[in-house]
């Protein structure tokens, strides 16, 4: 009888609410005259729990839940791309990071041509170097063999 998305939504808010209430209780709530750090978390956690109950019965508005099929390939490649960037930018510099990110994230869409990907990687590396390093003077080392 209850819609599946509603149950999921409600459970999420229950968890959020419990976490907030928990955090609020572990801190000093203070008095009404001088509210402490735990006051607002407690208040918000309570609201979250109330909303969680309301969510069980909510109808869909203009924004419908999108039943997008979750394929594993885009998740993995985009996740890996971010991880690659995070690692490479600190240890190898901007250019290697950009190239790695583009190459790895292009795996998310099957059928991308290798020649285009390479061109894209080099092109974007060049453009970002110009914009971010030379144009905006951000402290991003281009190459760094550490």
């Amino acid at each position: 009888m209850l819609k599946r998305t509603n149950i999921v939504a409600s459970s999420v808010m229950v968890m959020v609410g419990i976490a907030a209430v928990n955090e609020g209780m572990s801190l000093d709530i203070g008095s009404m005259r001088r509210i402490g750090p735990g006051f607002t978390p407690l208040l918000l956690g309570g609201s979250a729990l109330v909303l969680a109950v309301a969510l069980l019965f909510s109808r869909d508005g203009d924004i419908q839940p999108e039943p997008v099929k979750a394929a594993i390939r885009p998740f993995l490649s985009i996740g890996a791309a971010f991880a690659a960037f995070a690692f490479a930018i600190a240890h190898f510099g901007l250019v290697p990071a950009v190239i790695a990110t583009i190459v790895i994230s292009s795996f998310a869409s099957p059928g991308s041509r290798w020649s285009n990907v390479t061109l894209l990687a080099l092109g974007v590396a060049g453009v970002t170097a110009v914009i971010f390093r030379f144009g905006l003077h951000l402290p991003l080392p281009l190459f760094q063999w550490v």
Binding site: V16, R33, T101
Partner: protein, 508 residues
């Protein structure tokens, strides 16, 4: 008024100012045209890059991106039925059919004109009403601010599309996320769970880029958008509209402008609502409503002038009260604060060159956009024909660099990914992301005002309803809550009643 404009021209007409304006509007149009990454994510990504500029020019650039995107968003809607921005979703309803009838050029042309006129109207509204609102706002104290922000949040959640309960939930989540970090008053860690990188809180940019930018890309790939078909080319001659088109468009444009300015200026509502409302009004006012959805030009120009007008007018509550009109304004507000400017009623008095310079730059920017958009429509089409499968990785790179440059922290980069995945989950369940951002920006301010109001009132919580102005806002909040929730229950009741009647009628 005249000397204000002079101050504004002086501030805006510097070489750096003009360059920032040009860069902003061009980038904004491009981003608006690009399906996927929207002005919100772009502004968030650009934010760290603006740290080197002085606040006025930084704002001019970011604002340029914002209203520029309103121009560009309609291009993708009309040509590809792929709204570049949320507000241009309405444009696709009649714009795409027009394109399919071979009238793409006319559609694009009229859209640009409507957008320009809408923007000018919005600018006038900001210019005239902002100072008025500012002087009224000096009557505000902590309790009034808290109540007004509460009203803004609830209004955004209940009026702004999506199920009210889900939007309210996202507001609460945003408020909680805003609490992450060290509490300013007591130096206690909140919601950090021992992770030191969270001590300074989660940066707005990270959440914004993750939940909007990364989520959009991930969802786009899942939906197979990376394998979209390519549009055809457009000739310049086919762009000119017929006399009949002009005649049909004036009134819808005017109505759209007014609606847009109203919703833009109201805290908590913005251009998305404005464009939907304008479309709805046009259908209601039309003598032949069956033409809508099949290429009616009124259905195109009204929402377009509305969303541009709203985009400009949205600066009113943001600059004068420090209360953002929608999620993008929330990020703008964040941008202002990062540059050390506190928006509020005193802004216009203390920093007139910033305020009026910004207003003048809106006008200059819109002129630039008018000149830019018309001839460059062909180029946009060419760029759009680059398959999203190659655009997405490039956008991801920009996101990574932008976020990393905030505090040179790889942790932040992974946080964006995390929020991107969270955002994907949110879409699956039907949680709208925009209220989350509103809650995030307003949260710390609301807590501060709450604390202050209670302190001044010596712990008496009734202060929020005993002070007259505050009581008005609380009352409005309650009213909106009751209206939206009961409307939901009423229509459910009538539907259930109808279903039961049908069942009993069908029974032998």
């Amino acid at each position: 008024m005249l000397e204000n404009l002079l101050i504004g021209f002086e501030a805006a007409l510097t070489l750096t100012g003009l360059l920032c304006c040009f860069f902003g509007v061009t980038l904004g149009t491009f981003i608006g045209v690009l399906p996927g990454v929207g002005p919100l994510a772009t502004i968030a990504i650009l934010l760290p890059a603006t740290f080197g500029l002085d606040p006025g020019n930084a704002l001019i650039m970011l604002a340029g991106v914002y209203y520029g995107a309103q121009y560009g968003g309609s291009t993708a809607s009309i040509l590809l039925n792929l709204p570049g921005t949320a507000t241009s979703a309405v444009t696709a309803l009649d714009g795409y059919p027009m394109a399919q009838q071979g009238r793409a050029g006319v559609a694009l042309f009229m859209t640009t004109i409507a957008s320009f006129l809408g923007s000018v109207f919005g600018i006038v509204v900001v210019g005239f009403f902002a100072p008025l609102l500012a002087s009224a706002a000096l009557e505000f104290s902590a309790a009034e601010y808290f109540s007004l922000m509460l009203f803004g949040l609830v209004a955004a959640a209940t009026v702004g599309g999506g199920t009210p309960v889900k939007s309210l939930s996202m507001v609460v989540v945003g408020l909680i996320l805003g609490l992450v970090g060290i509490d300013v008053n007591t130096a206690e860690f909140r919601f950090t769970y021992g992770v030191m990188e969270l001590a300074d809180g989660i940066n707005l940019v990270i959440i914004a880029t993750g939940v909007f930018g990364v989520t959009e890309i991930v969802t786009g790939i899942m939906k197979g958008m990376d394998r979209q078909a390519v549009p055809h080319s457009i000739s310049l001659r086919s762009m000119l509209p017929a006399h009949d088109d002009w005649k049909k468009s004036w009134f819808p444009m005017s109505r759209g402008m007014g609606i847009g300015a109203f919703f833009g200026a109201l805290p908590g509502t913005g251009s998305t609502i404005a464009s939907f409302m304008a479309y709805a009004v046009e259908i209601k006012m039309s003598k032949r409503p069956e033409r809508f959805g099949k290429g009616a030009i009124e259905g195109l120009v009204a929402p377009e002038s509305a969303n541009n007008s709203a985009a400009q007018a949205a600066f009113v509550p943001t600059l004068t009260l420090g209360i953002p009109g929608d999620a993008v304004m929330a990020v703008m507000l964040g941008a202002l604060m990062i540059h050390g400017i506190i928006p509020g009623p005193l802004l216009i008095q203390e920093q007139p060159q910033l305020f009026w310079g910004l207003i003048v730059s809106f006008f200059i920017g819109n002129l630039m956009l008018l000149v830019l958009n018309l001839p460059l429509i062909g180029i946009w089409v060419r760029i759009l024909s680059v398959s999203p499968r190659y655009l997405f990785p490039a956008i991801l790179v920009f996101i990574c660099i932008g976020v990393f440059s905030i505090r040179s922290s790889p942790f932040d980069v992974m946080m964006v990914l995390a929020f991107g995945l969270i955002g994907f989950g949110m879409r699956r369940v039907g949680f709208p992301p925009a209220p989350l951002l509103l809650g995030l920006v307003l949260g710390p301010m609301m807590e501060e005002n709450l604390r202050r109001a209670l302190l001044i009132a010596r712990g008496d919580p009734t202060v929020f309803v005993t002070r007259p102005l505050s009581a008005v806002f609380i009352g409005l909040t309650a009213l909106i809550l009751i209206l939206t929730l009961s409307r939901g229950r009423l229509s459910r009741k009538s539907r259930t009643a109808k279903a039961m009647k049908e069942q009993s009628d069908a029974a032998p």
